[in-house]
Symmetry: C2
Subunit: 233 residues, 2 copies
């Protein structure tokens, strides 16, 4: 089959996050390798990497186990993401925004404004919002020019629900989505305003609070039989 090494890690990570690998399930090399139709070598490397990311737990001589991600851990990750993005925003403000960064952030704001113009969101709008949102955050982190933040955030990026792009939406309630994303977007405006005016402390506080916007929805999820399900409202 000869899949690329990195893609094996991604495939396994997806299977864990999506719940195809049930939390607590034991994962051995040989069955997993056969399931993907590749040899054990890339599986071994992937297992180690995923253990380092915190998605798997090593059992001595018994392979690995899918870690059960608790609600508390999600909240923890969001807090960590908040302080790190807050630090990035403050450093960006203190160093001063480059014109290119300012333009990119501004165009994110304009794009978002357009999405909320009609008072309703389509599913496509939500997807566009997510892309814009990721771009906004990535631009901001890059603007801090602090590589240590990158590295630290890369870890939590892989944790379910904690990452910026995991602003998962509930397709059943586009009206609720509208209000939540609109609130988040208004925060982007405030963050932008603080940034261009060099208000480091303010933007740091805003960014921490903004991270909590992700959290609102983790209430909708519950763990049942180790599998993540969507609670019916």
């Amino acid at each position: 089959m000869m899949r690329d090494g990195q893609s094996v890690i991604r495939i396994l990570r997806d299977k864990i996050i999506s719940g195809e690998f049930v939390a607590g399930e034991r994962l051995a090399e040989i069955p997993t390798a056969e399931r993907l139709g590749i040899s054990r070598t890339p599986i071994r490397i992937a297992f180690r990497a995923l253990a380092q990311e915190g998605l798997l737990e090593k059992l001595p001589r018994r392979g690995y186990q899918v870690r059960n991600v608790t609600k508390a851990q999600i909240v923890d990750s969001v807090e960590v993401r908040g302080v790190l993005e807050g630090l990035a925003a403050r450093q960006a403000a203190e160093a001063g925004l480059s014109e290119s960064t300012r333009e990119q952030l501004h165009s994110c704001l304009v794009e978002g404004d357009k999405l909320f113009e009609n008072g309703v969101l389509s599913e496509e709008d939500v997807e566009n919002y997510q892309n814009m949102n990721m771009h906004f955050h990535a631009t901001l982190i890059a603007a801090s020019e602090n590589s240590a933040i990158d590295a630290a955030l890369a870890l939590s990026d892989h944790l379910p629900f904690a990452s910026a792009n995991a602003l998962t939406f509930n397709p059943l309630q586009l009206q609720v989505e509208y209000r939540r994303l609109h609130y988040a977007h208004m925060q982007h405006h405030a963050i932008y305003h603080a940034l261009v005016n060099g208000q480091g402390a303010r933007v740091e506080a805003l960014m921490k609070e903004h991270a909590h916007a992700t959290l609102a929805y983790s209430d909708l999820f519950d763990k049942k039989n180790g599998k993540t399900i969507l609670k019916q409202p």
Copy 2:
């Protein structure tokens, strides 16, 4: 030879940090494997892990390269460590200290007080201080009960100079050391005071500032020919 896999990672990491592998040096699998007298498999795993830690950089088809750690990156790491430990301290304060945690922190303070009693430090004293310091920080982070902080800090632990135990000392100037470590110890007292009184915001600010105590000494270091040397004062 059959060394344990984890130990291979540690050995290579030490060689990088100690400067035995010069920054910018290219590292290929086969020569490295021969040098350690083992096969390429554990080397490959170790290279990947060290790249994830940020100590190595992958060159496509050309193996890996020892990353040149710049002064700016050290400062960045310290900032990140500061906000993360600050978050840990705040969460510990907000949740309330357990009696056991309080006792452990207190005994660190008492131990430190004893070291500074005589007005001078021996090299042994400095070593004891470092152990106490690590214990203080580890206890505090554990008290936050936030596993995401652990994970994020683990990364920067491996970066030279950024970690809490890298309060490296200059044996030529024990008098300077006395003052610097004494200042850091006084900060520990303030942090303890804020913690037991549940002052979350204060302890967070103190902790961020405390991280900068590590930084004072990076001024003494300079990069020359890619190798870290001690600048003569």
